[in-house]
């Protein structure tokens, strides 16, 4: 799975600055809470930690450095790229 979705948040490497570019096509399947929390396109982020056995991801994002926990399953909806 690690390389299956290289452009998705679920498979993004840890501790590397990235940027949200958009969402998966299946937008209606995605929890709206992701948007409400402010995980929007153009937002910069970093995955700081992941709980063991592919547990939730600990993500820091935005200029406010907000922290949020997401499961891989939700992170799969979010398209990302490395921020140069």
């Amino acid at each position: 799975m690690q390389n299956k979705h290289p452009d998705k948040l679920c498979c993004f490497p840890k501790n590397i600055l990235g940027k949200i570019t958009g969402y998966d096509n299946d937008l209606l399947q995605m929890p709206t809470k992701i948007l409400e929390m402010g995980l929007l396109p153009e937002t910069s982020f970093k995955i700081l930690y992941q709980a063991p056995f592919r547990g939730p991801l600990y993500i820091e994002y935005g200029s406010e450095k907000t922290r949020v926990a997401l499961r891989e399953q939700e992170a799969k909806f979010i398209k990302v790229e490395v921020l140069g």
Binding site: K33, M37, L40, Y49, A51, L70
Partner: protein, 678 residues
């Protein structure tokens, strides 16, 4: 003289973890009462204060990120906000200076609904530490709202907030910040004409809200079937959120300054350990150990004082009251019965206090993060850990705290299995039975009794996981489970505020259980004082022997059902009465033994130890004891819990299923245990 003052009603609203409770606590220094909407760790209260001779009542609603709810507690918030609109003067909106962006989403939604609002920006000093500078004047002008700045923790700006509420500085705007997308405009106008409501955003929310909003569902009666079919609420919500954030981004960039900081913040430092794959779990385990250690050892001192006080009261009333049945009812029935409950107040208090502190500090979110992966295979959510841990205090608040679990299936499973957790009401039963059947000896310094008690906790936890696993395969749902959870910055918990909450909860427990025990004692006493008469002209005889009384007859009547479990009729009666509440078991036994003139004298546990069957065998043998322990571990013996389960699930089916399944499990496991060990 009549009080002519009219109360001014204010709602306290904001995102979760923005310091709402702190502000609430600073504002309402006088009266506070738990509202109908109380959770356990998320405390929503209403409180009052008087300022310049005006009485103000503030209701602290559960935090939310938007008016479109995804969980039950958020639904409570939205329902209250919209349906009670005529009953409050305005919304006091708490914005978080650290995360202004997220705060503004909900703010503008409420503002656009035409609700009068006043903004309080909290934690400004914290934000400045992070290099965030907010220009309040510019922001106030952009948002068209009055803005106050507070630091609730240090009581700064509180009087200004009171003054603003006194002056009713709540502003209502007519200009919506959200423009209805072209695709929906036609439909929105059509509804506006039909309903004569000209707040277009309000109509939009009717289209965009899913089923969660209750009354709002009426929209389907207004719009045509065809329009309803094309309407995908979620798509509208997404559209709205994205557009609003675009607008908010602009406002933020024009009103705040951000100086990048290199300094590491406390939260970052702490989380390196607290969510670490090894240290994180170790710390959590240590915290749990510390809590249980405190529950059992720290609580010992106040428990001894309470025991002393009640035994003094019992002796005192026995000596002072005139001799007779009433004397025995009070000094042997009611006083020891109530004392048997009050004695557990310290343990419950300590447990709840720790839970409040953990929640308050922001640590609970980390526990959810750590546990999610391990609870998921059981059909639970990381968020289930909070009710499960709270369940060791009491299942009632624990079940209420499931409201923040978004997924209905996960929430239902959590509600159904939480009563398996060893709640504090089981403690009195466990400690007396373990005291009877386990010798007071050490195993390399560890008490056998402590090991037995620990085992009971593990059995409860194990059974709740096992039951989840079964339920996971029974309950079907299409709704996908998800976890999107804010990890708040760590805060120093509000020790005083939490302590006050705990005192309130403990008092609720004592008075609630006290009433039950009081009633049960009187009923037991009446049933034991009277019995069927053998004389023909009289149907009821008084002052009969316990065995001859109605109570004795009932006990004998149920004996066939309980004899296979190894119980005599006294235990049978005690178990029967403890279906009101588990802790009543000990109170009932103590009443029964003191009513029985033939029972040995001394403390209850001594009486129980010495009690024998007619054939000379001990009544409380090892097998009987284990059987009772199993029965209490699994049986659903708490009317209040059943009531709460029904209220939270709104399903008679699940409530009854849970009650019967648990009680059957209790019966058969007790049966098997007794038959094997006997």
């Amino acid at each position: 003289m009549q009080d002519q003052k009219k109360k001014k009603q204010i709602l306290l609203v904001g995102n979760p973890n923005v310091g709402k409770s702190t502000l609430f606590n600073s504002l309402c220094n006088r009266k506070q009462k738990t509202g109908n909407y109380a959770g356990v760790t998320v405390a929503s209260l209403s409180g009052t204060y008087t300022y310049k001779n005006e009485e103000v009542e503030i209701t602290d609603l559960p935090g939310s990120y938007s008016i479109y709810p995804t969980s039950e507690d958020e639904a409570i918030f939205t329902r209250y906000l919209i349906q009670e609109q005529e009953n409050y003067a305005g919304v006091l909106y708490i914005a978080d200076a650290i995360n202004m962006k997220r705060s503004l989403l909900l703010f503008q939604q409420i503002q656009d609904l035409g609700i009068p609002i006043l903004m309080v920006v909290n934690q400004i000093d914290e934000a400045e530490k992070r290099g965030i500078k907010i220009n309040s004047e510019a922001l106030s002008a952009k948002l068209n709202v009055d803005i106050l700045r507070t630091n609730a923790k240090e009581h700064l700006g509180i009087d200004e907030v009171r003054e603003a509420i006194f002056e009713t500085q709540f502003k209502k705007t007519s200009q919506s910040t959200f423009e209805i997308p072209i695709e929906q405009k036609g439909l929105v106008y059509k509804i506006a004409e039909k309903t004569k409501d000209h707040n277009l955003y309000k109509i939009w929310t009717l289209l965009a809200a899913d089923t969660y909003l209750g009354k709002i569902e009426r929209i389907n009666e207004i719009i045509s079937q065809e329009d309803a079919k094309c309407n995908v609420p979620k798509r509208l919500q997404i559209q709205e959120t994205v557009r609003r954030y675009q607008n908010i981004d602009k406002i933020i960039s024009e009103t705040t300054e951000k100086i990048p900081q290199r300094k590491q913040l406390l939260t970052e430092k702490l989380d390196r350990i607290l969510v670490h794959p090894v240290w994180g779990y170790l710390v959590f385990l240590l915290i749990l150990l510390l809590i249980f250690q405190s529950v059992f050892f720290l609580a010992e001192y106040p428990m001894n004082w309470i025991e002393g006080a009640f035994s003094w009261l019992s002796t005192f009333s026995a000596e002072q009251l005139p001799q007779g049945p009433i004397n025995s009812l009070i000094s042997n029935g009611i006083v020891p019965g109530i004392g048997g409950i009050v004695i557990f107040a310290p343990q419950i208090g300590i447990l709840l206090y720790f839970l409040y502190l953990l929640e308050d500090s922001g640590y609970m979110a980390r526990v959810i993060f750590l546990m999610d992966r391990f609870l998921r295979p059981f059909g639970l959510n990381g968020k289930s850990i909070v009710p499960l841990v709270s369940g060791t205090a009491c299942a009632i608040p624990a079940i209420m705290s499931t409201r923040n679990i978004e997924n209905i299936k996960e929430r239902l499973i959590t509600i159904l299995v939480t009563p398996f957790m060893t709640c504090s009401a089981r403690l009195p039963v466990y400690s007396i039975i373990i005291g009877l059947i386990i010798p007071d000896e050490n195993f390399y310094g560890i008490k056998y009794r402590a090991i037995a008690l620990m085992a009971m906790y593990l059995i409860g936890f194990g059974m709740s996981l096992f039951a989840s696993l079964i339920l996971k395969n029974i309950i079907k749902t299409k709704v996908k489970s998800f976890l999107v959870m804010d990890l708040p910055t760590y805060k120093m918990p509000l020790f005083g505020y939490d302590f006050k909450l705990v005192l309130g909860k403990v008092w609720e427990f004592i008075s609630g259980a006290g009433k039950v025990i009081f009633t049960v004692s009187i009923i037991l006493w009446t049933l034991s004082y009277f019995g069927p008469s053998e004389k023909q002209n009289q149907s009821v005889a008084s002052d009969v022997k316990l065995e001859q009384s109605y109570l004795g007859k009932i006990g004998r009547g149920i004996e066939p059902a309980i004899a296979p479990l190894g119980y005599d009729w006294k235990m049978g009666i005690s178990i029967l009465t403890s279906f009101a509440a588990r802790e009543v078991f000990v109170g009932t036994l103590s009443t029964l033994y003191s009513l029985d003139d033939e029972a040995p004298e001394g403390r209850l546990i001594e009486k129980m130890r010495l009690d024998t069957h007619p054939n000379g065998e001990k009544v409380f043998s090892f097998a009987t004891g284990v059987s009772i322990l199993f029965f209490y571990a699994f049986a659903m013996q708490c009317i209040s819990t059943i009531a709460v389960v029904y209220r939270e699930t709104q399903s008679l089916k699940w409530t009854l299923l849970q009650t019967f399944a648990m009680t059957l499990l209790a019966y058969f496991s007790a049966l098997v245990a007794y038959q094997i060990l006997k």
